[in-house]
Structures are given as C-alpha cells and as structure tokens.
C-alpha cells in the first residue's frame, strides 16, 4: 500500500469520526443518508486494466474510439426534420395497415427501413385463422402469415428505399429463421442479392423462456435454429446482424441487476458455443452479435456502472472463454440507447412524469456511451400505442440533450469516479459469481430447463413489489406523494394516430380473409410436398433448415404450417412450475 493510500485511509477514518458522526448525531440519525467515495474504495484501481481507452480492450470506456452519435458539423440552421428515424418499433393490424402506416410516416419525412413489430400469433408460430389466437391477431404488431404479407408491407420500400438501401429490424425470436426466409425470398423477387441485405433480427430465443414468453419449441431444438442462423447468415449475409440479444427484457420481467447481467451473459455464452460447436471460428461470427438496450432502471449511477461492467464482461468472455483474437468480436454493440429508465418503470398514473423519467434514462444513456434518447415515449403505459406528440417529445428531448446540453462530447465522462468505478467492479463481480453458478449447472439451457432462472426472476419481482408496498422503494405518484392535494396531471392527444382505430377493430377479420385468399391461390400439392420434405429435414439434426424455409415461403406455405411440422418433430416447450 502506498503512503498516499495510508494517509487517505487515516484521513477517512478521522473524517468519519470528527465530521460525519457529529452531523449524523445532530439530526438524530442512525447512519448517514449519503455516502462519499474516495480512492480508498477503489484501492486496486488500475486505469489500463479496468478502464482503458475507448475502443480498446476491455472497452469499459466505450465500444468505439469516438462517439458514434456526435452531430455532424452543420452549416447554418438545421431544418425541421420531423420524425425522421424509421427505428420506431412499429407494426399494426394487417400487412396493408402497416404498409399504409409506413407510407404516412414517409410522407412526414421518415427514411430508412422498418423496425417491425409482429403480432403475438406470428411471434408464437400461429396463423391468423387459428381459433386459438382469436383476439390477438394484429395486436402488438402486424400479422404475418405468408410471404404475401411481406410483399405488401414492403411496398413503400422500393426505388430509393430498395432492400439493399435500407436496414430492417425484426423482433421475432422463435420463428426468426422463417421470417428471415421471407425477407430473403422477397429480396430474390426484387433481384437484390442476399449479400447486399442489411437487417437485425432479434433472434434471442433463450430469454423468451425466462422473460418475454414467445417461445415455441423446447430450448434444445430452439438452439439448433440459432445454430442454423449463425451458419447461414455467416455464409451468405455479411451485412446482417446474426442475432440481437433482447437486453432489457430480463430486467423488465423482474430480474435484479446482477441476475440480469449474469443471465444475459450466460445466454450469450450459450449462443457463442453453438457457433463454435458448428465448427466456426468465433471471430467469424461474434462481431455480428448485437444487443437491444441492456438493463434499465431509474437508479442512475448504477445503470451507468452496469453498462460499463457489461462491456468489460462481454469483452472478457470473448477473449478469455472463447479465445477471440479480433477486437471487433469483443464489442458489446447496442442499437443506440444504452443505460435507460426501463420501460416497466413507466407509470400509468400522471403519465407525463414518464417524460421526466425517460430524460433521466436518456442522460444515463449518454453518460454510459449511448445516444441520449428519452425512451420510451411518455405514453407507453397507456396501451394505446405511442402518440405522435409523445414520439416528437422523445425526438426533441434527444436533440436537446445532444445539441444544447452537448452530452455526447466526452467519452465515458465518469471514468475514474471513485463511486462509479467501485460500483462497476461490484456489479461485474456479482455477475461473474452468478455466471459461474450457472455454468456449474450446465449453462443457460440447463438453468432454463430446470426453471432456475425463471424462479429467481419471479422471486426478485416479488421482492421489488414488496419494497414498493412497504415504501422502501418510491414511485412518485404511485406509492408516494399521492393524495387529494396533488394534481392529477393528465395528457390529451390532439394529433390523430396514423393507425385508424376503425381499421384496428376490423384487422383480424381482414387478415383472416386475405390469408384464405392466399391459400386458395397457391399450389396445394407443392405445399404438401414441401412440408413433408421439411419434416424429413427437421429430423436430421445436422441439416440447416433455412434454405428449405426459403423454398417453402416462396410457395406461400404459411408460418404455422412450417411451425406445426417442427412442433411435431421438436415438441413444444412446457413451462416449469413457479
């Protein structure tokens, strides 16, 4: 220990006795309500091994050397750009409804590809005409049954916005390979080669079992589908991100911060191992894994530290566990939003408060290396879809933090903060411990099959609820500062939502009708033949099913027809008891 550290520790002790304690006593408290961090809290801090420079191992200070989010130098005053980002998660009713939505948004200046939300039947491998899914068709996203739906959705994306000029995002998971096959078939029809396509499928099935719920097959055959995507996309599609990990869903389902990080990393390890087991060099596919905004809560500094810890841990896993050589393999790449407020912390009570909360999250995002996006739009919990007003406020909040507050000018501005460095160490250490426990159980798949992860998440969710009920955790306007003297600030929506509520009501019926028409007009003999071939291929563990999915979708085989064959061969996931 250096002399200086000795001195600091001595002075710290003196400060606690002579300055802090009298203050605590004066207010009649048992302990100080605030903390102070000094070098004594990060004794083994070594800048080069713990932080390093941005864009260099272990990437604590940032994935890239420069902020990718700096506004480009401009001349003059930027014009009104409207809602230009196409990245808003969107998808409504039928394919026609979603096509028309994108047309409207393009008329407002939106450029770029769609970030498609699919309805739950599509995400769970059911067609719209299945009586089991009645009520869910076209809700939470667009219904996709056959290639026909993709053809319609993508009508506004031609010419300047042709498939090789835009990037598409699909939140699809369990049937990811089938939906990707639709994208490939559409590209073929439009003479766009596969190696020109840019897309990011959320193809993170393991977190579905523990957090999001849109699983179909049991974990092991699901991992085969992941393997198929790693191999196929690796061979044919150099500009498609192989897999976007869910990120915030595990926390949203109730996991605490350490479990969230550990479970996410255990899942990452399982996917990487799948690629390695297929005989691939980890450096050939790891660079194409990305993460959808990770973690998320209102605890500002802890979320920033979480991001730093996550980057460091990801890099260490790639280098130490998988022997990756390329820096690019070790990068935890996220879509734009880094630390965030966590959608589940939006309140339906006094919904405008969510704007304040999302600004806190946006600042945390910037300080942890991401874009300062106030996300989600404040009306998230109202269940009506984001209004254009709320989306505009989000967009403007982002610009205010970037252009006026200049939050993205410095990389990792909290590097070296005794508090944030100590938090980063603490979170990472706890997550490693938990990751080791999961590895000892046999890894993520085993920990899901046994129900370990599911039960831990439910436990943490209940613990959080208890803290809210006891008042230990505060949610303003929900469990505190409520009463007759408080104003109930409400929100009104004046700009009509681009998706007409009348169309919404009729969407299910219209989708069922259009599916019936597709079924009438296709070659049913070819369909039966393709499905029987699918069954044979599915039975062979080594067979990559994606090329055959492409043949199926081109013949307008429906998503459920393919999934039913796979259900027969793979079985269906049965959730574990609580």
């Amino acid at each position: 220990m250096t002399e200086e550290m000795e001195e600091i520790k001595k002075r710290k002790q003196e400060w606690e006795e002579k300055v802090l304690k009298p203050a605590v006593d004066r207010f009649g408290l048992k302990e100080s309500p605030s903390k102070f961090y000094s070098p004594a809290d990060v004794e083994d801090f070594d800048f080069l091994t713990k932080v390093g420079f941005p864009g260099e191992y272990p990437f604590t200070a940032g994935t890239y050397a420069m902020s990718p989010y700096m506004p480009a130098p401009r001349r003059g005053i930027p014009g009104a750009s409207g809602l230009v980002r196409a990245a808003n998660y969107s998808g409504y009713g039928t394919a026609e409804d979603t096509r028309d939505y994108y047309k409207q948004m393009q008329a407002r200046g939106q450029r770029g590809g769609p970030n498609l939300a699919f309805d739950l039947p599509t995400q769970c491998g059911y067609d719209s005409d299945n009586p089991l899914v009645r009520g869910d068709v076209g809700k939470t996203g667009v219904a996709v049954d056959t290639l026909k739906d993709f053809e319609v959705i993508y009508e506004p994306f031609q010419g300047e916005l042709e498939l090789d000029r835009i990037a598409s995002n699909f939140t699809i998971n369990a049937p990811a390979n089938i939906i990707m096959a639709m994208y490939f078939a559409l590209a073929e029809k439009r003479a766009v080669p596969l190696d020109k396509l840019r897309a990011t499928p959320q193809n993170d099935i393991l977190k579905e079992f523990i957090a999001r719920g849109t699983y179909i097959f049991p974990p092991r055959p699901s991992m085969r589908m992941v393997r198929d995507s790693i191999v196929f996309l690796g061979q044919h599609c150099p500009h498609i991100n192989i897999n976007q990990l869910g990120g915030y869903h595990i926390r949203g389902a109730g996991a605490n911060r350490e479990h969230d990080l550990a479970f996410s990393m255990a899942i990452l390890v399982a996917y990487l191992q799948e690629g390695v087991n297929a005989g691939l060099d980890v450096d050939s596919f790891a660079p194409r894994f990305t993460v959808n905004a990770f973690g998320g809560s209102m605890e500002f500094f802890k979320e920033i530290a979480f991001q730093r810890a996550a980057r460091r841990m990801w890099a260490r896993i790639l280098r130490e566990k998988f022997g990756a050589k390329k820096d690019r393999s070790m990068l935890l790449r996220q879509a734009g939003l880094f630390a965030n407020m966590g959608n589940e912390n939006c309140t339906v009570q006094r919904p405008l408060n969510n704007l304040t909360r999302s600004m806190v999250g946006a600042i945390a995002s910037a300080l942890s290396g991401g874009m300062p996006i106030p996300y989600p739009p404040y009306d998230e919990p109202l269940g009506l879809g984001w209004s254009l007003e709320a989306s505009q406020l989000s967009e403007d909040g982002f610009k205010i933090l970037q252009y006026e507050a200049k939050l993205t000018e410095v990389r990792d501005p909290l590097a070296g903060s005794y508090y944030v460095e100590s938090l980063t160490d603490e979170i990472e250490e706890a997550a490693w411990k938990e990751l080791d426990r999961i590895e000892a159980m046999g890894g993520a798949v085993a920990a899901i099959e046994s129900g370990y992860m599911q039960r831990e998440i439910a436990k943490s969710a209940l613990a959080r609820q208890r803290r809210i009920e006891s008042g230990e955790d505060s949610i303003v306007g929900v469990n505190c500062f409520v009463g007759e003297s408080e104003l109930e600030v409400e929100t009104t929506r004046l700009v009509p939502h681009p998706y007409d509520p009348v169309r919404r009501e009729e969407a299910e019926e219209r989708q069922i009708r259009s599916l019936a028409e597709v079924k009438r007009n296709r070659d049913s003999h070819a369909v039966a033949q393709l499905l029987s071939e699918l069954k044979d291929k599915a039975k062979k563990e080594d067979e990559n099913l994606i090329p055959h999915f492409i043949e199926c979708v081109k013949a307008y085989v429906t998503e459920q027809e393919m999934c039913d064959v796979l259900r027969e061969v793979f079985g269906e996931y049965q959730p574990v008891a609580l």
Partner: protein, 134 residues
C-alpha cells in the same frame, strides 16, 4: 365460528401475451395474503381457463393481459362461466387496459380492473370483500 375456508384464486393469462411478471407476483403475493392461488401459466384460451376454474373449484379468476386482446378474451371468460352456471365466480382483470375500455369490460361482467401500480393488498382486500366462497 369454525375455521374459515380459504379463498381460492385462479390467476390466468389468456391469449398469447407473455408478460407474466404481474401475474406471477400476484399469484405469489395473494398466497402470502392467506389465499390459495393457482397460476395457469401462459397462453390459455378462455375455454382452458374456465375448465381450470371448474376443476380447481375456485372463487375468483384474475385475468392478466398486456397485449390489447382483453376486449375479446375477458368477456369470453365470463360468458363461458355463465354457460357452466358458475356466474358466482368473481372475475377481475389487470394488465395494460386503456381507461376507455374499462366501462365496456365491467358491463360484460368483469367486476374490477386493476392497472399498473396496484398494491397486492388492494387486490386482496377487494377479493375478500367481494368473493362469495362456494
């Protein structure tokens, strides 16, 4: 007074919605409030839910839906209960339910809707006051 029969609650997830944090928390929380709870797991059709309610002889069904499909799924459960002559089973709902849909759901026989921010004890109190043990 003899030992009081415990209130039996079926916590159910109708439809395909996979957001079950609230349902699980409620199933565990109501257990701590002295009730017997059964959680159905995800992806239950109204038919399966009512079948489970009959088999488990429950006093209350708590439906949770965050996908927007509540306007079909919740009333359908009430309808099927009526067909089974089980209209004395208390049906309550929760999830992301827009304010404007609540009168419709109440009219269809869902007696109360508990939105985000609800405390477990509020639900427990409501159940104790309104359930008719069978």
């Amino acid at each position: 007074m003899g030992e009081e029969k415990r209130i039996r609650v079926l916590v159910a997830k109708p439809g395909l919605d996979g957001h079950d944090r609230g349902a699980k928390v409620l199933a565990l929380g109501l257990r701590d409030e002295g009730m017997e709870t059964i959680y159905t797991g995800l992806r239950q059709t109204p038919e399966k839910i009512v079948q489970a309610a009959v088999q488990e002889d429950v006093d209350v069904i708590g439906l949770s839906c965050l996908s927007g499909a509540h306007k079909y799924l919740f009333p359908r459960v009430v309808e099927l209960l009526k067909e089974k002559r089980m209209e004395d089973v208390l049906v309550i709902g929760g999830g992301i339910i827009p304010e404007e849909d609540i009168p419709f759901l109440k009219e269809k026989g869902v007696t109360e809707i508990f939105g985000p921010g609800t405390l477990i004890r509020e639900v427990a109190d409501y159940i104790r006051q309104n359930a008719k043990p069978r």
